[in-house]
């Protein structure tokens, strides 16, 4: 059950935050509000009138606009075409452009209606999403994790825009998992957990500790700090010297990267989306080649990619075949299935993968168990190096803890680990030291939130 009698009361003319961790049901609740999902039970009341929101069109007609976490934009089309999408009759590009400029002026941001969306920055693309809702006459704006892809500077600019909207009589609902954003931005906060409404109150009456406890129901959500204080680090395992990295379209993402990772340490990578982190990780893991420069790495580097369904597992294959998949490119001659079976059983045992035997298909495992399997396989087949990308994406709190534990253990056993997460707090909690990717370069910074956060947007001490 995704939602269990969840309730939400939003006052007109306020900014209301819906707070919950991954899987709490906040996105589901908002998809119901936008007509993307029909609820099995319950009611929706807007301005005192009950509504049946059977489709996004109905929601839009009721004055609701939604800004999705993953933008619902067509990259190949212009801003005007994206905004106009959903109208009827003849499409007059000029009329739409005028309307865009008008609304933009009202809320104090300017976007070229003829620009192709693919060429815009992430913050600007988000503005286009907001524009879409405003042009369609939204009085209630729902934003799903809007600051997830924004550096702090742009997040503040967003808040200004939302305040201007509210001052003009609008209402805002903010979906987020970030405690700090909820307290900073919102007038009222509702906390969801396991699909239920746990608590709802004005922001002034709440503090971080209370909220954290309500969100997870047990101890506070603060990530346990695993960083090593004593230097038990060993030999150099990864050495990047003057490396350049390009993306699959040939655009240079990073230049002159110099990085060393030693055995027994976790190096964290912090960066705003699009700064070359995915490419860098793959170069480290030998899944991609650098455009130039020298790379020294262990023979076999384990790699845990962020999209495990696409890149790490063959869902229709049994567990044992997924284990055999690692390094399948190098295997010669016959497959030693007996050996693979033994290895698979060992991994399942040691990494606490809940499965009914190694011949069951990977598809039958839960997300957390799939991730444990992937981690186990990669750690077991690696020879001293491990690269990990958004390792706890989509996992609940228990699976997340297990993954973090495992990373710490691996580090203690002498593996050189590189971790990237789009969640800054996760990086900081796991890493012994942190590097930041910004402006086509890799920067070393002090391992505290302020320094790292600033560096991510280009403000260096």
């Amino acid at each position: 059950m995704a939602l269990d009698r969840a309730s939400l009361r939003v006052q007109k003319g306020t900014i209301h935050a819906v707070l919950g961790e991954n899987g709490a049901g906040k996105t589901t609740l908002m998809r119901v509000a936008f007509g993307l999902i029909r609820p099995d039970a319950g009611s929706i009341v807007i301005d005192g009138r009950p509504q049946r929101l059977s489709s996004p069109a109905a929601a839009i007609a009721a004055g609701i606009g939604m800004v999705h976490q993953h933008f619902m934009l067509v990259p190949a089309m212009t801003v005007a075409e994206n905004v106009a999408l959903g109208g009827t009759g003849r499409y007059d590009a000029n009329a739409v452009a005028d309307r865009i400029r008008e609304v933009g002026q009202q809320f104090r941001f300017a976007i070229d209606p003829r620009a192709i969306v693919a060429t815009l920055s992430v913050a600007d693309q988000q503005r286009v999403e907001i524009l879409k809702a405003l042009v369609k006459g939204a009085r209630l704006l729902i934003l799903d994790e809007p600051t997830a892809v924004l550096p702090p500077q742009d997040a503040r600019a967003l808040l200004m825009t939302l305040r201007a909207f509210v001052d003009n009589g609008g209402t805002v609902v903010l979906i987020t998992h970030k405690l700090r954003d909820a307290i900073e931005f919102a007038d009222d906060i509702t906390v969801l957990r396991h699909g239920r409404t746990m608590r709802s109150a004005p922001a002034v009456e709440l503090d971080e500790t209370t909220l954290a406890a309500t969100m997870i129901g047990t101890a506070p959500v603060v990530h346990t700090d695993f960083s090593t204080t004593s230097s038990t680090i060993g030999v150099e395992k990864f050495v990047l010297r003057d490396v350049s990295v390009t993306d699959d379209r040939g655009v240079v993402k990073l230049r002159n990267v110099n990085l060393t990772v030693h055995a027994g340490e976790i190096v964290g990578v912090a960066a705003v989306e699009g700064n070359g982190q995915h490419e860098l990780l793959r170069v480290l893991a030998n899944r991609a080649q650098p455009a130039s420069g020298d790379v020294t790495r262990p023979d076999r580097v384990g790699f845990v990619p962020e999209d495990r369904h696409r890149d790490a597992l063959i869902l229709d294959f049994p567990i044992v075949e997924n284990v055999a998949l690692a390094r399948a490119g190098e295997t010669r001659g016959r497959m030693n299935w007996a050996e693979y079976r033994t290895t698979a059983e060992r991994i399942v045992q040691e990494y606490d993968v809940r499965a009914e035997g190694v011949v069951t298909r990977a598809r039958t495992l839960s997300g957390g168990n799939q991730q444990k399997l992937v981690m186990g396989r990669e750690i077991e087949t690696a020879s001293g190096g491990l690269v990990v990308e958004n390792p706890t994406r989509g996992l609940d709190i228990h699976a997340t803890r297990a993954v973090h534990e495992r990373l710490r253990q691996t580090k203690d056993q002498g593996t050189a680990v590189v971790v990237y997460s789009s969640d800054l707090d996760e990086v900081l909690a796991l890493a012994d030291r942190t590097v930041v990717l910004y402006g086509n370069a890799l920067h070393t910074v002090t391992n505290d939130r302020e320094s790292v956060g600033n560096a991510m947007v280009g403000r260096f001490a």
């Binding site: 996004p56 069109a57 067509v74 089309m77 106009a84 999408l85 959903g86 109208g87 499409y91 879409k132």
Partner: protein, 307 residues
């Protein structure tokens, strides 16, 4: 090269290009919605037989209507399995084409008996547009064709305008690029794709109808001869744009019509070369198009939602 040599060549070009153009215009819209319809060949052959059977009893113009309906029926089968049931588009399309080829062959033999009775049907005569048809060299080629060709002339700018200057066209293009965005804007991507496929089937049927009712005057099993696949190449070459498709179709028509030019010049080349030429040209066209970048982003995608 005299105009006596050029005119048959140009006439042949337009003649060959017309049915290809119908099929390609339809498929352009279909692919813009994110679907590859390999079953287009099936719509063409169905249209050919449907056109023949209808014209036999009701005359030429109703024959075209029958061709369009037959093409739609085949397209409906494809839409059901590939769009509604989300089957693999390539395999479904291939099955639909085989089904149509087998079914038309079976129906033709049952209806008209086996082997060789060359069945004829009344065909559409050339309709010379007064004045324009008398232009030197290009006159009869462009304006002395059967009336159905002039439908193509109207369709090209109409479809271009519809695609880029109406909200419906916008919705179609959005579906082919990012179906989730189309859905968030209030559309049903599946509905749009079904409608597009039906439209493509209608034009595919029209292509087949043109082959029988404006050109051959008879039906032969398999007479579509791969035109559905050539049409797909034309779509790619034309960069998924109705105007581009028109230009590409003319190029293909010209290549086929080359045999007239060669004959007139007295060059003797085995006739199989000209028969094979459209297919070779398709390969060359696809190889040089380097088109992956400009294809509708979600082309061929089966899952239209974040699951």
């Amino acid at each position: 090269m005299t105009s006596a040599m050029l005119t048959p060549f140009l006439e042949g070009t337009v003649r060959t290009a017309t049915p290809l153009l119908f099929a390609a215009l339809g498929e352009t819209l279909v692919e813009r919605s994110g679907v590859i319809n390999i079953g287009l060949e099936g719509s063409i052959i169905a249209g050919a037989l449907g056109g023949l059977i209808t014209a036999q009893s009701a005359g030429v113009w109703p024959g075209f209507a029958g061709a369009i309906v037959a093409g739609c029926v085949i397209a409906m089968i494809f839409a059901t399995f590939a769009v509604l049931l989300r089957g693999d588009q390539i395999i479904t399309g291939t099955a639909v084409t085989l089904l149509a080829l087998g079914a038309t062959g079976t129906i033709y033999r049952l209806w008209y008996g086996d082997a060789g009775a060359a069945l004829t049907t009344p065909t559409m005569k050339a309709f010379l547009i007064p004045g324009l048809a008398r232009l030197p060299i290009i006159g009869t080629a462009l304006f002395g064709q059967p009336a159905v060709t002039y439908i193509a002339y109207v369709l090209i700018p109409a479809l271009w305008w519809w695609t880029y200057h109406t909200h419906a066209g916008l919705a179609l293009r959005a579906t082919g690029e990012n179906p989730e965005a189309a859905e968030a804007a209030g559309f049903s991507p599946r509905r749009i794709q079904c409608l597009a496929v039906l439209f493509g089937g209608a034009l595919g049927g029209l292509c087949g109808g043109t082959l029988v009712l404006a050109q051959a005057g008879t039906f032969a099993e398999g007479m579509s001869a791969g035109r559905g696949f050539i049409a797909i190449a034309i779509v790619v070459l034309g960069r998924w744009n109705p105007l581009g498709a028109a230009i590409a179709a003319v190029i293909f028509g010209a290549a086929s019509a080359l045999q007239f030019l060669f004959q007139a010049m007295g060059w003797h080349i085995p006739y199989q070369v000209f028969l094979a030429l459209p297919y070779v040209l398709t390969l060359l066209a696809l190889a040089t198009a380097h088109s992956k970048r400009q294809a509708p982003y979600a082309l061929g995608r089966r899952e239209l939602h974040f699951s």
